[in-house]
Symmetry: D2
Subunit: 162 residues, 4 copies
């Protein structure tokens, strides 16, 4: 049995078309080839057409960026997240509690959107920015507030390095 | 071996404490007993304290509501969702495309929040309401728009029946 | 404002390098170019190196296949899934119930793996194959069986067309 | 505006019905009351009946355990996971690579299930046990192996404290 210790030096040849002295963060477009079985490519093309992509590169970049956002999260880097909560505004002290939380952790909150869903229910989307860990903690608090019927935390990116 | 065909009639006894003629949708609080091993309850109490819940009922209601929102989605009922996108506003025709999409499907869009993340990047949260299937489709379109770096669809609830 | 109605005919030019009379499902490798900002490519290369990929094409194919498996699920096509359950084997009638379920729906079950985690707990992985909808239903039943402490349903693929 | 600093001392009154000197980890069943709006309870009852639960306590314990498993993961405690991979067994060196990986990290691997899906495709479920972080890392490696068409990592529990 061959001993494979996962050297991936062969990748580096493929990776760098440019000379060694290149700057660390390049905005320049780079082009590389991807190979794929014909039937796989056909199915991919069908799906991305349905989703409204105008070309494959864009769809592949989106898949890649999505996997990198998860990475940012795993490494506790700075992220942007949204906390979406639906609550009954008639529950006593709920609004005060939500407002207090936002003031206690005001550095994390970027902005808030409020919608009256019906005579009882409000939806609020709070945009938070910070390290993954602290952002998640405040999201848990908001979602756990008495009177909040449903809450979801969604993680996205600052857009930098992506 | 006993043949268990998953009759669960025994549940119904536990379920209805109230008389048969009760209205279909009751806002009245009902109280029932839950049994659990001591060590499980202790861990649950620790976790919900950390998340800021003030009592167990509230935490359990949240777990239940969360499972019901998924159910709404599976059954293509009316839901509310948020589409969070981060994009580079300098990409040509991107804003036009996003605006066009919102006008084409205007009945689905409730509101939009816009934030300038830095000199290049914008975050937009679009609140959409409609059947699960059509809401998901328009979310895919928005996320697939050229220039959108990252997009996420988050499903929540109208608050009704929850 | 330009009216963009999401014609994506321009993609088709890029898509088919081969002549029109080609067979529907081709196993032949096809190669196409993908363009990407330099800094995005660098981060992607770092992440896939960490995950043990030996080249970019393989990593991109994996991202694509993963998105197609979700598609199969959405369209209720035939899928393979695994149901992982952890249970206390001392709970009365639990094994009987699990066995009964597997016999009632035997066409869906391909194989089962059983592990004794400790003196009380067993882990069982059941491999199921069928339409997405029916597979999910039987998974819910297994996970909901009294005595099952934790259960997860994982969706994968038959490998065909992927 | 009232200053709410999230003291939750009022919970402790509800929490402990038993005397102070109780042992840390109790297997004894404890019973407590949960209150809920009637319409929410009705929907919950419908859903759990569909999923085959025989009573509410069991369904609620499952929701609670599921949230605790996520917690174990966040805190890098010992977990059990399954890695489900589908691969084409004709890809050169694939089996060797998979076997090598299992030997390099043999302490993490508990057992493996293998199924021949069709003449080309195999499904393998590998049961791994260890700290959340290291288990995830080896899962990434397996999924990233050349020739693996689809891979999923599923996290569950050792069953202890749950």
């Amino acid at each position: 049995m061959k001993d494979v210790r996962y050297h991936i030096s062969e990748k580096h040849g493929e990776k760098h078309g440019r000379a060694g002295g290149a700057p660390k963060k390049s905005d320049e477009l780079q082009r590389f080839g991807v190979s794929m079985e014909g039937y796989l490519l056909e199915r991919f093309d069908q799906v991305i057409e349905k989703k409204g992509y105008t070309n494959r590169s864009e769809a592949i970049r989106d898949l890649i960026r999505d996997s990198l956002v998860e990475q940012d999260w795993d490494e506790n880097r700075e992220i942007v997240g949204t906390v979406t909560i639906v609550y009954d505004h008639e529950v006593r002290e709920l609004s005060d509690t939500l407002t207090d939380l936002q003031h206690q952790f005001q550095k994390l909150f970027r902005s808030t959107l409020h919608i009256h869903l019906d005579e009882h229910h409000c939806l609020e989307v709070l945009v938070v920015q910070g390290k993954g860990g602290e952002v998640k903690k405040i999201a848990d608090r908001l979602i756990g507030t008495k009177g909040v019927k449903h809450g979801k935390f969604t993680m996205t990116t600052t857009g930098k390095d992506l």
